[in-house]
Symmetry: C2
Subunit: 281 residues, 2 copies
């Protein structure tokens, strides 16, 4: 791994690293925050993976969410990867659309040409990245959680539900919870996975919790009521209903007037970090 | 004024507005944060003007500094303007450089062609913007402070020192304190104000405090020791020496290992807001 940048931040260190990804067959960037050594020792630290939404890179969460303050206080590491494979060789739609292809990997392993070779964000997040992180940073594999926003909330929920022992805690801001039912999800899943909707189930949080049953975690979701995507793309009540039926512990906070932006996430990021810390203690 | 955007943030409201500026003869954007009405009433609120550094717009501080959390707690308003006149009609160097022209107004009133007509950020910040803010927002003119970063730290210091009753409190992150002596400042001042260095004194914080004496305020400066611009462009010790000689109250915190980025500012923004609140109480 090659270090691209490093800045002191709340006594810890906010870094960006570059590495060659085998899963994705391209160079990838990943942002890593480590908490203050003076205060929390040399680790290993409880570690959260943050998955970003459509159009984002490793940068958005890192500069906008304000998570480092409480991560520094609590002694947590945060790993924020990019949202898709990158590079001129990576296929994309022509013309480019914001909700598919680069910047929109949907945290799945594609099966359809031309996407199947490089759009393998599920394997990247679940297998390759944790290994890389374990080799290079003082992360505590036994205390690892996952969270994300919008498309990344979908990623966090589905990855947690399929890997509850690896990513033990889970939370999301304004997640896509039922991609099989909404335009963003249907476009992504049909292109990446083909037209048979049976094949979409492993990447649909609502179907996963119905098919596989509850995880041991208590999932936290925050959703703004002023979110412009709430009614058409997000539909958290569908997941809440499936969770209730499956016995999945879930707290869904509807936040009055908040929109889909990082101003919303910054307002509640502290709660999420403390929620994970408690769950991973 | 026309509202461009509004997002709920920590219970308050983060907005961006557009307006026609008389001082600058162009349309300008300005970001305004108002604190939670439920908690702090309808105002008027103590108000801080934030001046950004080179290359920035009204957006950088707003999305990166994390100031809204404590502003919401303390009940303060924050006004973050752009850093220069904007638009295709506004003159600039050909080819464009990052440290002069658009994005680099240096918070002065230019006297030299072709800059003198529109590069009038000093008048904009000191006269036009506070009037506009008073007409459109619940700002408390009697409790107004100013702060900024780098070029904006220079702006905050010089504007405070010349208008200590209007901008009663003042702080800065990594400010340019002696522009007459450093490359960024010499380039800007010679182009905007002409070659006679006597004419630069009103826009040089170190010369201002020496020439005019101390303000009543206790100025706060935070400076990272890992700042890549510290030795060539910033030189806070020069201002500290002039302040001491003039009896200007100053706290200069040298912050071990911090760089010039918003990661540094986010780490100490709470201290600055609390400092202003106390000074304006």
């Amino acid at each position: 791994m090659e270090r691209i940048s490093s800045s002191r931040c709340f006594g810890g260190e906010q870094m960006v690293w570059k590495h060659q990804s085998r899963a994705l067959s391209c160079d990838m960037r990943v942002a890593v925050f480590t908490p203050p050594r003076e205060k929390h020792g040399a680790g290993p630290y409880p570690t959260l993976y943050w998955l970003s939404g459509l159009t984002c890179t490793e940068d958005n969460f890192t500069v906008k969410a304000g998570a480092q303050r409480v991560a520094a206080e609590l002694g947590m590491m945060i790993v924020a990867p990019d949202t898709s494979p990158r590079g001129d060789d990576v296929p994309d739609l022509e013309p480019k659309t914001y909700d598919f292809g680069k910047g929109a990997g949907f945290y799945l392993d594609a099966t359809q040409a031309p996407w199947a070779r490089q759009y393998r964000m599920y394997s990247y997040i679940v297998d390759e990245l944790p290994k890389l992180v374990a080799e290079n940073f003082p992360a505590d594999a036994a205390r690892t959680g996952i969270f994300g926003h919008s498309m990344g909330g979908h990623g966090a929920l589905t990855i947690h539900l399929k890997n509850p022992d690896k990513f033990r805690s889970c939370s999301a801001f304004a997640p896509i919870v039922a991609p099989s039912l909404v335009p963003w999800g249907r476009k992504a899943l049909s292109n990446y996975l083909g037209p048979d909707e049976k094949d979409w189930a492993p990447y649909d949080a609502t179907r996963l919790v119905a098919d596989r049953g509850a995880s041991k975690a208590h999932i936290l979701i925050d959703q703004g009521t002023g979110d412009q995507f709430l009614a058409e793309q997000l539909l958290p009540e569908i997941f809440a209903a499936a969770a209730q039926k499956a016995g999945q512990k879930l707290t869904l906070n509807m936040r009055d007037g908040y929109d889909h932006s990082y101003f919303f996430m910054a307002s509640f990021i502290d709660d999420h970090l403390r929620w994970h810390q408690k769950a991973l203690a």
